[in-house]
């Protein structure tokens, strides 16, 4: 039976962030994970940003190591998603009527591919999907993740946040656009392995309260912290 106690708190037990100014060559398996991991090398820049921030958040929560798969989900909000890779990929389709279409790039023309990569690498089997919206504040992703956690007995934790590579030149980035990836780990209780960065509640208007204030941007939680 579906049930959700909206009055219960949700704890932020891990935070991870990577700025969109980070060079692709800085986002390697050796530098991020600390060990060789072949699939990392095939990922596009957008996926490396998202994967890295998710990994940093789980590491901060003391949850990056695993032996059996865990019911942990990822919900990411994005404005442009994989659009940069979409353009690179279609450049392989256009000449010669598709004869040189890149299957390797095609796999990364979905914005959720990095979450699939993270699930494989980190053994995550929970709810995973992308939310496309017009701003990078991440509140929709956070609310959705809080709902998922509070309504599920089996879900161990949720990772949520925002991910965007720098906006393509043709698209003017609005004031609410953030280039980079910001993720946080949410649990129903303060983790015993990682830090506790505070707790979140829903108020009666279904707004999120953080430090007794209405949260309007997840950057208020993440942006001033040293991560990674």
């Amino acid at each position: 039976m579906y049930h959700m106690n909206s009055g219960n708190p949700v704890y932020i037990t891990g935070i991870g962030q990577v700025e969109g100014t980070t060079l692709k060559k800085e986002l390697t398996a050796g530098k991020v994970l600390g060990y060789p991991y072949k699939p990392f090398g095939r990922m596009d820049y957008f996926s490396r940003l998202g994967f890295t921030a998710v990994f940093y958040a789980l590491k901060d929560a003391g949850m990056e190591k695993w032996h059996t798969k865990r019911d942990i989900g990822i919900i990411a909000s994005t404005v442009y998603g994989s659009i940069e890779t979409d353009m690179h990929y279609f450049e392989t389709v256009m000449p010669h009527n598709g004869v040189r279409t890149s299957p390797a790039l095609f796999a990364y023309t979905l914005p959720g591919t990095f979450m699939g990569e993270a699930c494989i690498a980190l053994g995550l089997t929970g709810d995973c999907f992308v939310i496309n919206e017009e701003c990078s504040k991440g509140i929709t992703a956070l609310k959705t993740a809080m709902h998922t956690l509070l309504s599920s007995d089996g879900t161990h934790a949720m990772v949520c946040g925002v991910c965007d590579s720098p906006a393509p030149a043709a698209l003017a980035a609005g004031p609410d656009f953030y280039s980079g990836a910001r993720f946080m780990v949410l649990e129903k209780k303060c983790g015993d392995k990682g830090a506790c960065h505070g707790k979140l509640f829903f108020n009666e208007n279904h707004e999120i309260l953080y430090k007794e204030q209405i949260l309007t941007d997840i950057a208020e939680i993440i942006s001033n912290r040293q991560t990674g």
């Binding site: 039976m1 579906y2 049930h3 959700m4 106690n5 909206s6 009055g7 699939p39 798969k69 019911d71 989900g73 442009y80 998603g81 659009i83 979409d86 990929y89 279609f90 389709v93 256009m94 010669h96 009527n97 598709g98 279409t101 890149s102 299957p103 095609f106 796999a107 023309t109 979905l110 959720g112 591919t113 979450m115 699939g116 990569e117 699930c119 494989i120 995550l124 089997t125 929970g126 709810d127 995973c128 999907f129 992308v130 939310i131 496309n132 919206e133 017009e134 959705t144 709902h147 998922t148 309504s151 599920s152 089996g154 393509p168 043709a170 698209l171 509640f201 108020n203 009666e204 279904h206």
Partner: protein, 384 residues
């Protein structure tokens, strides 16, 4: 909603519309699939000679604008077939590549606004068209997008966050996507044959469906009758492979088990399954493995409509739910076009003719790239 309250509102589907290669509404699509027709035909939207297939299930009765996306024309058609949508409805769309034809045109040198390329352009378009207060969000989860959008609408209503939500799933046939599926070897040179051992891959299709969901209380206040309910839902990731499903069906098994748990029913209560059934060898084998595990020796009747209307990607779950309303009401499972022979060990569960079934619950499942699986359980009007 009062903070601290435990709420679990019943979710009803009170209105629905669909457009596919086989019809401009649910009735027409239903009749055509039921009578064994196929929407799959020769594709002439772009040159196909370098691809594995030259077949797709395209909508040929809606004009494609030369200076804008065909997906908007599909969206416009879809919402024009709905009755009144309350202005306070939350909006969840589901599309994998949105107005990707506009990106193609821009990259080929056409002077078009790039602002319609991001996936958020579709909820914005539908919200403005219907005059909704909510700008909406798009759910992007590969071929499970629509089902996950339905689940987000269901949880929003069940938890009391809203009383009303509109879900629109839609995708189109584009060279962008066609070339990609051809390049990874997922496409069949002949029409797809879901759940048949001779299946060689999928056939792409296009279309959309819109479903208006309401809490039972709100629907009763507005004198709206339930078409069906949605009483169970679940999502799970395989954590196994980026473009192939887990061979053991573990993610789909978990998603269905979550859905059964939400609905508080047993596997034996499921009357029939509207499966993903893409016609790719790995997907179909994975689903049959999962169904064997979930239902043991008593697998209910299973179908896939992708042999008739193609694989409509992010729209698939919404279209299947729209047709699921009719399947539950009429207690009749649509035929699986293209199917001829059963896999060993799973005889008599799939057929290429309509199959009557008895039961109050229809399970609908979808799986996609990134290892994502989603399941909903639809309940016959008047039951849960």
């Amino acid at each position: 909603m009062e903070a601290g309250a435990i709420v679990m509102n019943q979710v009803w589907i009170t209105d629905a519309a669909a457009v596919t290669s086989l019809g401009g509404d649910i009735d027409e699509t239903w009749i055509n699939i039921l009578s064994g027709k196929s929407g799959i035909g020769k594709l002439n939207r772009f040159p196909c000679h370098n691809y594995v297939s030259d077949l797709a299930a395209c909508i040929n009765f809606i004009d494609a604008p030369s200076d804008d996306s065909f997906l908007k024309a599909i969206a416009g058609h879809l919402v024009s077939h709905l009755s009144v949508v309350p202005g306070d409805a939350l909006l969840f769309t589901a599309t994998t590549k949105s107005c990707i034809d506009n990106l193609e045109k821009i990259q080929r040198g056409m002077d078009l606004s790039p602002l319609d390329v991001p996936c958020s352009s579709i909820p914005r378009f539908i919200s403005e068209r219907l005059g909704l207060a909510d700008r909406g969000i798009n759910i992007n989860a590969a071929c499970a997008s629509s089902t996950i959008a339905l689940i987000q609408a269901c949880t929003a209503i069940a938890s009391g966050r809203t009383q009303c939500a509109l879900v629109c799933g839609l995708d189109m046939v584009s060279e962008f996507v066609f070339a990609g599926f051809s390049s990874i070897g997922a496409m069949s040179p002949s029409p797809a044959r879901p759940f048949d051992p001779a299946a060689k891959g999928m056939t792409l299709g296009e279309g959309g469906a819109a479903l208006l969901l309401m809490s039972r209380d709100r629907a009763e206040k507005e004198n709206r009758l339930p078409l069906t309910g949605i009483c169970g839902w679940g999502i799970a990731n395989d954590a196994a492979h980026i473009t192939a499903p887990a061979r053991d069906g573990s993610g789909l098994i978990k998603a269905v088990q979550k859905a059964l748990g939400t609905a508080s029913i047993n596997p034996q209560d499921i009357g029939a399954v509207s499966a993903h059934g893409t016609g790719t060898v790995y997907n179909d084998a994975m689903e049959l493995t999962a169904f064997k595990h979930i239902f043991a020796q008593q697998i209910p009747l299973v179908n896939s409509i992708k042999g008739a209307i193609g694989h409509t990607l992010g729209a698939a779950g919404a279209i299947e739910a729209a047709l699921g309303i009719y399947m539950l009401e009429k207690q009749l499972l649509l035929p699986t076009a293209g199917f001829q022979v059963s896999h060993e060990g799973v005889q008599n569960i799939v057929n290429n003719v309509p199959m009557p079934f008895a039961g109050d619950y229809l399970l609908s499942t979808n799986s996609g790239f990134g290892g994502i699986n989603a399941a909903i359980i639809m309940s016959k009007a008047g039951s849960k």
